[in-house]
Symmetry: D2
Subunit: 478 residues, 4 copies
C-alpha cells in the first residue's frame, strides 16, 4: 500500500473532486517533509504559524490581517456585533476547496494536506479548521458530512468514518464553538447523478434517507442550531425524460420523513431549504424563495421549514439578493444567509466573498427588520478564487467578507437613525393610513363599494416615487 | 374641431401610445380619402378586400395565405383540431399595435384607421376585427377594455364608451364567436404608474376595482369564457421605496373582492393570472408560475384561479415555455396559453409569433396531457414586427402561428402513437413501481425503515438517463 | 388651429413619443394658465423658481439640493474637479423625457410644457435647459437635432426649424457654455425603421446623409467639441431577411463621407461611435467596443473615430462598464463616457443615474490612466424613473450622479496615493521586467528559442493572484 | 508500484479531471477482469462489439443506430454529403469525458478504461478512438495533446509520451483518416492558472510556446488540416489585478511566433482562433468573432488566421450561432465549426450535441454561401450528458448530431432551390441596384451630393420587411 502515496494524490472535495496527474502539482509540498511522505505522521504545531489572532484595528488600519469594521463585542442597536452577525466558516470551501474547476486541476497546496482522503488526514484537517476558526474569532462552522470524513464502501463504513471525525470535532469544539448547521452531501457520488430524494432510482432515495438520517444525528450531537437541505441534484436536465410531478411528490415524502425524524430524536434546530435555480442541473426544484415556498405550502410543510438564502443563488435566479431576503422574510421564512456574491456578468455560481458594501447594507436592513437571524446566521459559503493560493488568502478573504457585512450593519444603522429613508417610504403609503385604507386592508371593501368610492374620488393625484432621492439617501450612508 | 385633423394624428394603443409629429407619417392614408379627412365617415365595404377566406391546402402548398398544417375540422385523438387549439385573436396587438417602440414612432398605417381614438373609430375597428376573425377562421377573441373603447375623463364616461362598443361587438359576434377572455388594462394611464391593485396610492386601488368590476361585467355579457389578470405594473422598480409586504396584501384583498364579485354576477368563467417576471417593472409580483402559485396558496386563493402561461414571459423568467406549462399543469393551474415566443438572445418581451416547431410540439404534449385547455385556449398574444407594415402581414403572421401549433399537435400525436419516448420515461421510474416504491409514495417509509433498507440494498446500479436518445426520438417526430 | 389645443397634447421625445388620449393626463397643467391654453404666450420668469443654485456643502450636508462630493473648483491631481469631470446635461432625457414606456403614457407634466411640439415651445424649452445648466453649475450640454427642434415635412423645413432653435441656443450659451457633443436622431421617424445608413432603402441612406450633414454643421456652429454616432437602428431584427455584409459596407461608405465632410467644414471635434449591443434591434452593428473597433479597422477608419462608452450599454453586452472603458482605452479609442447605469437583473436599457460608488471609482481609475477625457467628458445619458415626477427630481438625480462620480474620483485618487493596489499589479508581472521578458515583448523570442528556455527553466512556480486582497484594498478606498 | 492500482483510479480529462475516492465508483469494471487489475494487459477484440457499422437507412427507420438523413456518398449541390460536412470526432469529449462536473465525480465507466492515465492506457484508448471513427463512418478527428497522451514531469517526458501515442495514431489512421485539427491543451495544469500566452508569469509563456511548438509538429506529422488556438485561460478573472494591455501584447507576440514556426516547418494548415466569451475566466480575450477579428487586425495578423466558431460559445456571448457564422464569413474568417449547442436558459457551456433542425439549417445556409468549409469541417465538440452512461449513448449522440446537420443541409438546399427566401432578400435591397446605389456603394457620393438628392427625393416610401413571411418560408423547409 505504501508505494501508492508516492504516485498519487487524492483530493476529494465537497463539490469538485479533481485528480492530479502523476506529473503535475500539487505534489507533496516540500515543507511538510516526512509527514507528507508517510501520510501517517502527526502534524506538529500550528497550522497557521504566521497568522496572528485577528483583531479589530479600526477603519484606518492598513493591516490586511485585521478587522477594520467588525468589532465583535461592540454593541449596536442593543446587541453585540457578533450576535447580529453570527458568522460561520464553511468547512467544505475553506478546507476541501482545491481550486479545481471544469477546465482545470486543483491549484491549492495547503501545507497540512498529505494528498489523501484518509481518516487521519480528515482529523488533521479538522484540527486546522478549529485553529482557523479561533484565529478568525468566530464561534460557528458549517459542514457537509462527506467533506469532513471519508466516504465508505458501505453506509456502515461511511457512518463509522463520520463518527470518528465527529467525535474529534466535538472534543475540539470546546464549550463555545458549535455548528451553525450541518447537511448531507447528496450530489458528488455518481449514485446521485439523477438526484437524491428525486432520483428516478428507488435505491438512491433509500440511500439518501439513510444518509440524511445520520447527518441529522451528528448535527444534533454537535449542538448544531440548524439543518440544511440544498438540493444538489434535485431537479432535471431535460423534461423529455423526466416525470417532474412524481419527482416532486418523492421530495415531499422525503421532507415529511425528515420532519418526523427530527422530532423523534429531539432535534430542535430549524430545517432549512436552500434555493438555487440551476447548476448542476438545468432546473433545480428549489429555484428561488417563492418556488420553495410554493412547494412547502402545496405539501403542507410550510410550518416545518425556513429558507437559507444565498446571494449568488439569488442573482442567478434573476433576483437581487435583497429581493430574495425580503421575499423570505415576508413569507416568514428567513432562516439563514449564505453570505457570498456572484459576478453580475457571469452565468454560473462563482461563490465569491461579498465585497460590495451596498449589497451588504441592503442585506443588513432586512436582517434588522427580521430582528436578527438567530438561530440562523451568516455562513461564508464562499471560496477563494482558484488563483488565490496563499494560506493567508484564506484569512484575507474571510476578514474582508466579515468587514463588508459589518460595514453593512453600521450603514444600515446609520440609515435607520437618520430616518429619512423610512420616512420617505411611510409617506408613500400614507393614503392607506386612513379609514378607507383600513377598510380595504381588512377585506371589507367589495367591488360595489369601491366603484361608488371611485366615482366620488374623481381623478387621483399620484405623487412622485422619489426613487433617485431614495438612492441618494441610501448612498450617503455608505 | 376640424382643424385638428390636419395637424395631428392620435393613435392610442393597448400598450404603446405614440405620437406622430406634425411632419411625420403615418399620415392620413391617401386611399381613405374623405373618411380620414372627416374622421366621421362610415367605412364602406371590406377591410381586407384582397384577402380571401383562409383555407387548408396541405403541407405542399406554397400559398402564404393558406394553412399547411391546421385543418380545423380534422379529427385528431378524438377531437377536432379547432377544439384542441381554440385559437383566439388578441385585439390589442392586431388592431391597436402601431409598431411604436421605445425608440420610435408608429409605423403601421392601416387603411381603416383615421388617426383618432374616437368612438366611431373604435366601432369601425371592431368591425375590422370580426372580418379578420372570420377570414382567419377562428371563433375566439381576447380584449383589454381600454383598447376596444376610448377612455373617458371619468369612470362614467369610460364605462359609457365601453358599453357602446361592447354592444356592437355583441351584435357582430353572432352566435358562434365570443371572447376567450377579457381583461382590464391597468397600466397605460399615468395613474397606474405605481401599479393598480398594488399602487401606493389608495385612490388608484379604488379606481382599479371599479375598472375590473366593469371589465368582468362586459366579459360576462359577451360570453367570455375566462377573465385574465395580467399585473401590468403590479410590482416594484426599487425595493428602497417599496413596502412589498403591504403591496402583496393589497393584491390579495383585491383578488378576494374579484372572486366575490364574479360569484355575485354569476360569471362562471375561469379567473386567470398571467405570470411575467419583469417589464415594465423591475420585478413583477406574478414572476412565474411557481411564484404565482405561492401567492395564491398563501392567501387561500388557490382554488379560485388558474394561470395563463405566456411563452415569452416564461423564457424571460429563465424557464423554458415547456417548464412553465408543466409547472402550471402539475399544480392544477394550467388554464390558458398566450401563444407567442421571444428571441432567445433578447432581454425584453418581443411577443413574436411562435414559429419553432420543437417548442410547439412540447407545448402540445403538455396540452394533451392536460386533456386540452378548454375553457381556455391559445391566445395569439403576439405582434407583427415593427417593420412588417403590409395588411397581409397580419394574416401571414397568424397563419404561420396557427400552422406552427397545428404542426406541433401532429408531431405530439406522432410521438404518443410511436410510444417509444413514453416507454423510455416509464422505464426510468420503474424501480418505484414496486412494493417498496408504493410504500415510499404512500408516505409509509420513515427514516429508520429506510436506513434498514439501504443497508440491505448495498450499492445501487444507476442506469443511463438516455437524454440523447430521447432527443433523437423527439426530433424524429418533427 | 385654436381648437386643436383643447383636444390634444403633443409630446415628441428623443426616444419615446407617446400620445395622450383625450381623457388622460398629462393635461394642460393648471398652473400654466393661459400660456398653455394659447400655446403661444411667453413664459414669464424662472423655470425653477424653487431651486437655488446648487452649491458644494460637503459630505455631512443633509440637503438634497447640494453637492456633498463634487466641488468644482477644488484641485485634485493637478486639475480642477470640473476639468476632470466635464459634466454634460443630455437635452433629450432631461427636457424631452416624458416617462412614457412601452406599456404606458407619459407621466411628467413639467409646468413650462404646453403640450405641443411647436417651434415656440422648442424655444421656451431651450431656455429651461440653460437655466437648468446654470443652476446645476455645469458648462456642457448634449443634443439630438430632432429633440431640440420640431421635425419638418421636408428637409428644408426641418433644417429651418433647427436653425431657428440653434440660433437661440447660441445666444443663450454665452461665452462659457457649449455642447460636449451633438448628434442626428436617425431612429424615431418611421422612415428609419430599417436603419439610417444601413437601411435597405436607398432613399433613407440619402436622407440620413443630409440630416447628419446638417447636424454636424450646427454642432460646429455651437462650438461642440465632439460629434456622436449612435446607431439607433443600424442593425438587424432577423438575419433571414438581412444582407449584413451589404449593410455594413453602406455604413462604412457613410462614415467615410462624414469624415470627409468634417474636414471640409473645418470641424475639429472628435467623431465618436457609441456602442450598444441590442435594442431597438436584435443586433446593433456597434455591439461593443471591440466590435466597433473591428469595424473601424476593417474599413480603414480607425484613426478617424473614437468611442463614446455608455455604462448601461456595456453591461447589456455582457461586460462590466470598466471592461468597456479599458478596452476602448487600450485601443486608443476612449473619447467620451455616457454616465449612466443599468439594473443588473434587467435585460433592457434602463438609463439610470449612476449611484454605485464602486463602479464610479473604477471608471475614474480608467479616466485618470487616460489623462482625462477632454475633449470628451461625462454626459448624463440618464433619465428620471418614470415614477419620478417632481421638477426637483431632475436636480436630485443629476446632483446624485455628479456626486457619485466625484466620489469615484476622490476614491481613485486615494487608491493611487496609497499605492498598494498598483504595487500588487506591478509585482504580478515582474517576471517580464527581465531580459528574457524584454526579448519576448520585443518579438525576438521564437519557438525554438523558447523551447530551449522552457527546458532550462524546469517547473515554474506560479504565485497567487491575490484577488481578494485586491478587492479588500479597493473596498477600503470607498 | 503495483499496489497503487488496487487503491486508486486515475482519470485525467481534457477539461475535467476528477478523482474517485477510495470507496466510490467508478471502480474497476467487473467485465474487464484482469486487464483492469494489472493495468498492463492488452485489450482483446473489439471495443464496441455490440455496435454495428452505422448505415444510412432513411428517415423512416426507427433504428437508433442508423442514419436517417446523413447519406455520406449522396451528391447534393454537386458535392458528396461527406464533403459538405467533413465531420470530425473530438477525442477529448468522447474518450476523456468522464461525466465529472463541478459538483460531482465521474460517472462513465467505459469497459476499456483501466482507471489509469498510463501510456499503455493511452494507446488502448487511441485504438478505441479509431474503432469508433470507423464504425461511425467519418474520416476526421480532433485532439488536444495532453488528452491523447499522459503529461510528463518535464517537457521532454511529456513530449516523449506524446510521440509514442502519436506514432500509434499515425499507424492506425491508415491512408484515409487524419486530424481535422490538433491543439495544445494549455488550461488544465495548475501552471496555467493565470493563462498560457497571457499568464502574468513569464515561465508559463515560455512553457506554452514549447508546448504549442510540439503540438503543431505532431498535428503536421499526422496530416492535420488545421491547428486551433482555444484560449482556455487567456483572459482575466478581475481587472483589479490585471494589466490587460500587456497581456494582449503578449498574446500577439505569441501568435506571431506561431505563424513564423508554422512557416518554418512547412505546415500549410489553417491556424484557427476559437472565440469564447467566458468560462473558465470571467472574460476571455477571444470573446466573440468580432473581438477576435479586432485583435487580429490590431496586431497585423488578420491574414494568418481564421476562426473556429462554436455554437455554444456563440450563444454564451449573446449572439445566435448563425450570427457568429455570418460575422466570421463576411470578415473572411470562417474556417471551421465546432458543432454543438447550449441550453438557451443556462449560463455556462453545456456542449450538447446539436439537435435543433432550425439551427442546423441556418448553419448550413452559411456553409453553402461560404462554398463549404474545407480545409475546415464540423468538429463534434460536444459531450454526452453526465447522466448518459451507456457505451451506445456515444454512438446515439454522434448519429443524432450528424443527422441533424445533414437534415440542415437538405433543408438549406430546399430553401435555395425554392428561391423565394432569396428573392425576398434581393427585393429588399433593390433600390441600391440602381445608378445612384452604385455611386453610393463605390464611395462616390459625398454629403453635399446626397443632401441635394435628398431634397429631390422627397418623402420616401419604406416597404415592409416581411419578417413573418421569411419565417414562414424558412419553417416550411424544415
Amino acid at each position: 500500500m505504501k508505494s501508492a502515496k508516492f504516485l498519487l494524490l487524492l483530493i476529494s472535495l465537497n463539490a469538485i473532486s479533481n485528480i492530479v496527474t502523476a506529473a503535475g502539482p500539487p505534489t507533496c509540498p516540500a515543507d511538510i517533509g516526512s509527514d507528507c511522505a508517510t501520510g501517517s505522521g502527526e502534524w506538529e504545531g500550528e497550522f497557521f504559524p504566521n497568522i496572528p489572532k485577528i483583531k479589530y484595528e479600526g477603519p484606518t488600519s492598513k493591516n490586511p490581517l485585521s478587522f477594520k469594521w467588525y468589532n465583535s463585542e461592540e454593541v449596536i442597536l442593543g446587541k453585540k456585533m457578533k450576535d447580529w452577525m453570527r458568522f460561520s466558516v464553511a468547512f467544505w470551501h475553506t478546507f476541501r476547496g482545491t481550486g479545481g474547476d471544469p477546465f482545470g486541476a486543483p491549484t491549492k497546496v495547503w501545507p497540512w494536506e498529505d494528498g489523501t482522503n484518509s481518516l487521519s488526514m480528515a482529523k488533521r484537517r479538522m484540527r486546522s479548521n478549529f485553529e482557523f476558526i479561533e484565529k478568525l474569532g468566530v464561534d460557528l462552522w458549517c459542514f457537509h458530512d462527506r467533506d469532513i470524513a471519508p466516504d465508505g464502501k458501505t453506509i456502515e463504513e461511511a457512518n463509522a468514518n463520520l463518527d470518528e471525525v465527529v467525535a474529534l470535532a466535538k472534543e475540539l469544539q470546546g464549550t463555545k464553538i458549535h455548528p451553525l448547521w450541518g447537511t448531507a452531501q447528496l450530489f458528488h457520488h455518481p449514485r446521485f447523478m439523477h438526484g437524491g430524494a428525486t432520483s428516478s432510482e428507488l435505491g438512491v432515495y433509500v440511500y439518501s434517507a439513510a444518509q440524511v438520517k445520520k447527518a441529522m444525528e451528528v448535527t444534533h450531537y454537535l449542538g448544531g442550531e440548524n439543518y440544511v437541505f440544498w438540493g444538489g441534484r434535485e431537479g432535471y436536465q431535460s423534461l423529455l425524460n423526466t416525470d417532474m410531478e412524481r419527482e416532486l411528490d418523492h421530495m415531499a415524502r422525503f421532507f415529511e420523513a425528515a420532519v418526523a425524524y427530527k422530532k423523534k430524536i429531539g432535534f430542535n434546530g430549524t430545517l432549512l431549504i436552500e434555493p438555487k435555480p440551476q447548476e448542476p442541473t438545468k432546473h433545480q426544484y428549489d429555484w428561488d424563495a417563492a418556488t420553495s415556498a410554493n412547494f412547502l405550502r402545496k405539501y403542507g410543510l410550510i410550518d416545518e421549514f425556513k429558507l437559507n438564502i444565498e446571494c449568488n443563488h439569488a442573482t442567478l435566479s434573476g433576483h437581487s439578493c435583497h429581493h430574495e431576503l425580503e421575499t423570505a422574510r415576508i413569507n416568514g421564512l428567513l432562516g439563514n444567509i449564505d453570505a457570498n456574491t456572484g459576478d453580475p456578468q457571469v452565468g454560473w455560481d462563482t461563490d465569491q466573498f461579498m465585497m460590495d458594501i451596498g449589497e451588504a447594507t441592503l442585506a443588513m436592513l432586512t436582517v434588522i427588520k427580521n430582528g436578527g437571524l438567530a438561530p440562523g446566521g451568516f455562513n461564508f459559503d464562499a471560496k477563494l478564487r482558484r488563483e488565490s493560493t496563499d494560506v493567508e488568502d484564506l484569512f484575507i478573504a474571510h476578514i474582508a467578507g466579515m468587514d463588508t457585512l459589518a460595514r453593512g450593519l453600521r450603514n444600515a444603522v446609520k440609515l435607520l437613525e437618520d430616518g429619512s429613508l423610512g420616512e420617505l417610504v411611510r409617506k408613500r403609503y400614507q393614503s392607506f393610513d386612513t379609514e378607507l385604507g383600513a377598510q380595504i386592508e381588512a377585506g371589507k371593501a367589495d367591488f360595489d363599494f369601491l366603484e361608488k368610492k371611485a366615482k366620488e374620488l374623481g381623478e387621483i393625484k399620484v405623487p412622485s416615487a422619489k426613487q433617485e432621492l431614495a438612492e441618494m439617501i441610501f448612498q450617503s450612508a455608505l
